[in-house]
Amino acid sequence: MEAATKPKLRVATTSLAGCFGCHMSFLDIDERLFDLVKLVEFDRSPLTDIKHCGPCDIGIIEGGLCNAENVHVLREFRANCKTLIAIGACAVNGGLPAQRNHLSLASILEEVYHAQHGLVDGFIPNDPELPLPLDKVHPIHEVVKVDYFIPGCPPSGDAIWKVLTDLLAGREPELGHGLIHYD
């Protein structure tokens, strides 16, 4: 891929209630990263350490929404990114964190901070610095409009590369057998 004279696309990435595994997988595009950086520049991302997302062409979200902070970050991305991509199982359907959804939040906090063996005088942290958990974990499309999805836990580097190159080339992204998987 040749670096065109047109301006580079600006891309932001973040992980909400995720494990950064999708970001690790993103790095698995390996030497193709060199091709990618000819076409894009990074805004907010674990790769840049920029704290807030500015106007971008593409936002990539890993992880679902498990607390208020996740909601703020997601809203910031949606407001700033022309195209928003959900990457990985957690962003797509809540993933592993959403497996707490059949329990009440009260019972979870009770269990974690009060009931469990070895907790003496345990209390539920109430520092305003800490984001409050939502009563259920939600995939991101339940809160903002999402333009594209890359399922997988994590999606392979090849799948991520395929979607990004399709989008950069102005094609509708398509994965097909072998690249589309939910695990």
Binding site: R78, A79, L105, A106, L132, K145
Partner: protein, 611 residues
């Protein structure tokens, strides 16, 4: 050993309690698993719910796995596997009940009896919940108490009911006027005004040959009154020509919201209905018939049984009917138990067979493969009543009434915003405007024809006519004046379909719930054009992919109101961007409560919309 047997004995006693009331029921139903639903219903009348021990007993007595019994019991809204209140109160929740203020009355009764809606009071005295339309729209708001209908609820009546329940007064000792269900017949035509001496139509039929009777039915051009309008003569002929043991089934599962004509026919014209069934039996060669009566009409059961036994005494049922040696026929009444889908004929047959009321794959159709896989005619109550008159007066007489496509008359169940709700019989071809004028409706915004699954007509269409060629109907005619919000009408119907979906096929099971949630999202002020497009997509999917008419028509109320009352939706699209269906700030409330926090960081902006 001793301690073990000591432990066992209370259990044995308990089991005997159930055996005591179950055995007579089982004997009455000849230990037939085909009568499972009837057995469960009667068992519950004795014990209040179906106890696990009762299931064990039935499982052995009927030689069926208990999972099957639980599967059947779990399908029907009025069969309970867990204890309910001694007084089970169910408020009818059709849109017409809502328009008459049922929600305020429910709240009032709940607070007077210290019970939450949908729950049982702590002392086990009472449970209060809602149920689908009980067919008393002309005298609502209505409720069922232990499956018996109570009409014309007012605050005064609710206060009295609260007192009666608190004092544990048995239902039989409640004031009789609470249960005084009226016919409210406002306009009679041939069906309601022709006097029929019991047996007269049957005699007329027996004087003709069977072929000639069938010919009269065909000549009359009578079409099914359940709404679909299949030719009755052709149905009888197809069934008659199919080999096997033949059955006649009368569909009195009148569950379509806003419909109550069968209630009146069965209450005051039962002879015509049974006589029509008997004529059908003669034509198709059936020895056995069933009336499938919706559970909400439980209060009609004893009356109908009395009519049947009188007809047996009159030799109009039983062996050698009217001296005809080769004509034996009798009718059983099966009660439904709160499942609208059983109004679909193949689901009704499944339910008659004591199963879950899931519509069958069709073809084959009931005329060849119906009850017990045998040829079966399933007709509406009104169809059989009309058939009796045709047997009496001939097909030409009937065909001359109505229009060329829709012969005869139609009973309309008129309710909603009008001065005189009740039953109106009209020749087919009568305009909506005529009905509105006769029932004393003014300032009318819309009429829902044929219930939730029917069609919603707006003012500019009031010139349209009742008939298969224009507005086919099972009979419901719900009137809405300009004070009514047509979005809320559609939302009520969508909730109804989600509640009544049988759950067999994916699109209807999940789609009706999704549609219901989308309508709620609009109602809660979270709607946007994005959701509007979603609703339209869901409508398309339900229509094209569903297994039966319930799924196909579940989106009709939405499609109609979108097309004709779009502003009701537009005013709810308060957002242009995307908004979640749930309230994010409320989603933090549990965490706020657990941490005691209420700082700004402990909240999320409500109704934040994104592009």
């Amino acid at each position: 050993m001793t301690s073990e047997s000591a432990k066992k004995s209370p259990m044995t006693i308990l089991k005997n309690i159930h055996a005591e009331y179950l055995e007579p029921i089982l004997q009455h139903h000849r230990h037939s698993v085909n009568n499972l639903l009837q057995i469960l219903r009667e068992a519950q009348e004795h014990y209040g719910y179906i106890h696990a021990d009762a299931i064990d007993h039935l499982s052995v007595a009927l030689s069926v796995p208990r999972a099957k019994i639980e599967g059947v019991a779990g399908f029907y809204s009025f069969i309970y596997l867990q204890p309910r209140g001694e007084y089970r109160v169910l408020f009818s929740d059709n849109i017409t009940d809502r328009m008459l203020g049922n929600q305020g009355l429910l709240t009032s009764l709940c607070s007077q009896l210290w019970v939450e809606p949908g729950k049982i009071s702590e002392d086990g005295l009472v449970s209060i919940a809602t149920t689908s339309c009980t067919g008393l729209c002309d005298q609502g708001p209505a409720m069922l108490v232990n499956n018996i209908a109570v009409n014309r609820l007012t605050q005064e009546r609710i206060n009295a009911i609260a007192e009666l329940i608190r004092e544990r007064v048995p239902l039989a000792a409640w004031p009789a006027d609470f249960f005084a269900i009226e016919d409210n017949i406002r306009r009679k035509d041939i069906l309601l005004s022709t006097e029929l001496t019991p047996g007269a139509a049957l005699s007329a039929a027996l004087q003709r040959s069977i072929e000639a009777t069938l010919h009269e039915i065909k000549t009359s051009k009578l079409r099914g009154r359940g709404g679909a309008g299949f030719s009755t003569g052709m149905k009888w002929e197809l069934c008659r020509n199919a080999p096997g043991d033949h059955y006649v089934v009368c569909n009195a599962d009148e569950g379509e919201p806003g419909t109550f004509k069968d209630r009146v026919l069965l209450n005051s014209y039962a002879d015509k209905v049974f006589e029509g069934m008997t004529v059908c039996a003669r034509v198709i060669g059936a020895r056995k018939g069933f009336l499938y009566l919706r559970g909400e009409y439980r209060y009609l059961f004893d009356h109908l049984q009395a009519v049947l036994s009188r007809r047996r005494q009159q030799n109009l049922l039983g062996q050698g009917i009217l001296g005809c040696a080769d004509f034996d026929f009798d009718i059983d009444i099966h009660l439904g138990a709160g499942a609208y889908v059983c109004g679909e004929e193949s689901a009704l047959i499944e339910s008659l067979e004591g199963k879950r009321g899931t519509p069958r794959n069709r073809p084959p159709f009931p005329v060849t493969n119906g009850y017990l896989d045998q040829p079966t005619v399933v007709n509406n109550v009104e169809t059989f009543a009309a058939a009796s008159l045709i047997a009496l007066n001939g097909g030409d007489w009937y065909a001359a009434i109505g229009t060329s496509v829709s012969s005869g008359t139609k009973l309309l169940s008129v309710s909603g915003d009008c001065a005189h709700p009740g039953i109106y019989e009209y020749p087919f071809g009568t305009s909506v405007a005529q009905v509105l004028a006769d029932c004393g409706a003014s300032d009318t915004q819309a009429v829902q024809i044929s219930g939730a699954s029917g069609v919603c007509v707006a003012a500019q269409e009031f010139g349209r006519c009742i008939g298969f060629e224009d507005l086919p109907t099972a009979g419901a005619f719900m009137v809405f004046d300009h004070s009514r919000d047509m979005f809320e009408v559609a939302r009520n119907f969508v909730h109804f379909f989600a509640h009544e979906s049988c759950g067999f096929c994916t699109p209807c099971r999940v789609g009706t719930s999704l549609l219901s949630n989308m309508m709620d999202k609009f109602s809660h002020g979270h709607g946007s054009p994005y959701d509007f497009a979603e609703i339209e997509n869901l409508n398309g999917l339900l229509q094209s992919m569903s297994h039966c008419g319930l799924g196909h028509s579940a989106c009709n109320p939405v499609l109609d109101t979108i097309a004709k009352f779009r502003p009701a939706y537009d005013q709810r699209m308060v957002h242009q961007g995307y908004v979640p269906a749930f309230d994010l700030d409320r989603a933090l409330s549990q965490a706020r409560q657990m941490t005691g926090r209420d700082d700004t960081g402990a909240h999320l902006e409500r109704d934040h919309e994104s592009k």
